[in-house]
């Protein structure tokens, strides 16, 4: 696990707070909980996460392909960031 991971998690939570649905709160979602099942985001709002990862970490989804499941939990998003930065 990368030493930057806790900081990235905090950044991710701060970002997810900006796209959360009015009736849902990021504070009620665990790092391994599904962002979709929790109702925090849906498969259309997922593009916000894509944009965040592209601009913040330079991930090129056009080259790597997009698997929505990889963006399903905070843990899997952090794993994806680490994989692409190796």
């Amino acid at each position: 696990m990368s030493a930057d991971r806790p900081q990235r998690l905090q950044d991710l939570i701060a970002f997810l707070r900006t796209i959360q649905k009015p009736t849902k709160r990021i504070e009620n979602v665990g790092v391994d909980d599904s962002l979709f099942a929790s109702g925090l985001v849906d498969s259309l709002a997922i593009i916000q996460i894509v944009l965040y990862l592209e601009t913040t970490y330079g991930i090129d989804f056009a080259a790597s392909g997009m698997d929505p499941e990889r963006l399903g939990t905070m843990t899997s998003i952090l794993d994806l960031i680490e994989e692409t930065r190796r």
Binding site: P22, A45, A62, G65
Partner: protein, 452 residues
């Protein structure tokens, strides 16, 4: 907490149904669904011989060959997904495009071959007529292969989603097995919870069916058995289909408005009744997946309504059109995020939606009448255009709000809900039936605003 989530009810169900829950292991549940799938394959194949003007096999050998061909194709796509990394580079890079190319190749062969080509052509007719039902299911199968989620799964596991005994339309409710397995009950307690959720949905489906019948009788008339129980009273509101046919003439504007809202409620009920039944069966078999319809009439934005109205259809559009377009345009349109969003939304809600409905006309497609099909769908295509426009604006507004809640208060909330109802009620004018001329729909639309 709802009754199916109450730990006491779950324990009670486990006690009462202990033997059944123990016997229904994941393997057995999947096996039952897979055996049922074989029956669905045979039944659906035989039903594909419906159109009288399509030269499909009339003897026993022909339908049997179609069933065998469809089973063989299912196996081949399963193998392709399992061996995804060994497929040709183009297919690995564009699996969905390759899949749809197979369908179109079948069509081209049919269109270019002569009617007296023999049995193989008749069998191909049967296969091509069934293909739109399989396309999105094979699509999810290939998606599982592409994302490396085929390991540890059997052919029968995927077979049960490709030929679903639990029902559905061309849109696979519960998506593919890769998705279903994430929601599968792993122990007796989870199975009990899933089954109770399924039973709740089954009851809800029947209650909504009663509501639908009451709406049919009370609003539209003539009365039915249910409305007779409440005195046989009917408001006699004309249906949107009828109002379009008379272009809204000789009808009070307020009645036309009530009619379009009634149509919206009716369509939501219709979708919910059917979808709840399918998801109820899936849940009873231990797949505790999302509902197909989840309170869309309470949605406060257009995009939220679309998400809640017909979830598994929207997932097709999102998975096969929206997300691929959005990510592929990442390089070229990185500095134009609004244009990128616009392209992705229109690829899904306009192009994908229209394409889905075009290929649903199986008998038209196999006979090479693509342009006739497009012409018949012209109103629906316009509906898709308006829908895409609405979703784009709605997504843009949500993005620009940046997580800030919309104006609070019941009045504001009601206003937003009313706006969503009005949008969908109005665009539905172009989605009712397929027979009405476009101009009649336009005239009716204008009549709602007093423009004759």
């Amino acid at each position: 907490m709802q009754f199916h989530e109450d730990p006491r009810v779950i324990v009670w169900w486990q006690t009462k149904m202990g033997g059944m829950l123990r016997w229904l292991t994941p393997f057995r549940r999947r096996a039952i669904l897979a055996v049922g799938g074989l029956w669905v394959c045979i039944r659906e194949s035989l039903e594909s011989f419906g159109p009288a003007d399509v030269p499909v096999p009339a003897d026993r050998l022909g339908p049997l060959l179609v069933v065998v061909a469809l089973l063989g194709m299912t196996w081949l796509f399963y193998r392709a997904a399992t061996e995804f990394s060994r497929l040709p580079q183009f297919v690995r890079k564009h699996p969905q495009l390759s899949l749809h190319s197979v369908y179109w190749a079948f069509l081209v062969v049919l269109w270019t071959s002569t009617p007296d080509s023999g049995l193989w052509r008749q069998v191909l007719f049967g296969v091509a007529a069934m293909f739109p039902f399989l396309l999105w299911r094979f699509g999810y199968l290939l998606l599982s292969g592409q994302h490396g989620r085929m390991s540890g799964t059997r052919f029968s596991d995927h077979f049960l989603t490709i030929w679903p005994i639990y029902g559905g339309s061309n849109a696979p409710y519960g998506k593919g097995f890769g998705y279903l397995s994430r929601f599968e009950a792993k122990n007796e307690e989870e199975l009990a919870r899933s089954q109770l959720a399924g039973i709740k949905l089954f009851i809800l489906s029947n209650l909504l069916l009663v509501a639908m019948k009451v709406l049919e009788g009370v609003f539209y008339g003539p009365g039915n058995a249910l409305t007779k129980m409440i005195g046989g009273y009917t408001l006699g509101i004309p249906t949107v289909g009828y109002l379009i046919s008379i272009e809204g003439k000789n009808t009070a504007i307020w009645i036309s408005w009530i009619s379009i809202y009634c149509e919206l409620v009716y369509q939501v009920l219709r979708h919910a009744v059917r979808g709840h039944l399918v998801i109820a069966v899936l849940r009873i078999f231990g797949f505790n997946v999302f509902r197909n319809t989840y309170k869309p009439l309470l949605a406060e934005s257009i995009v939220d309504f679309w998400n809640r109205y017909y979830y598994y259809f929207k997932e097709i559009m999102a998975n096969f059109f929206f997300l691929p377009t959005f990510t592929q345009l990442g390089r070229t349109l990185r500095n134009w995020p609004t244009l990128r969003l616009f392209a992705a939304v229109f690829a899904a809600a306009f192009i994908g939606n229209s394409y889905y409905h075009l290929i649903k006309f199986s008998d038209v497609m196999v006979q090479g009448q693509v342009f006739e099909g497009l012409y018949a769908l012209r109103s629906r295509i316009f509906y898709c255009f308006l829908l895409a426009l609405g979703i784009f604006v709605s997504m843009l507004r949500e993005q620009r709000r940046g997580g800030c809640p919309p104006p609070q208060g019941q009045a504001n909330r009601l206003l937003r809900i009313a706006g969503v109802w009005t949008f969908f009620a109005l665009i539905y004018i172009w989605n009712v039936g397929v027979g009405a001329p476009f101009t009649s729909r336009l005239s009716f639309f204008l009549s709602l605003f007093g423009i004759a």
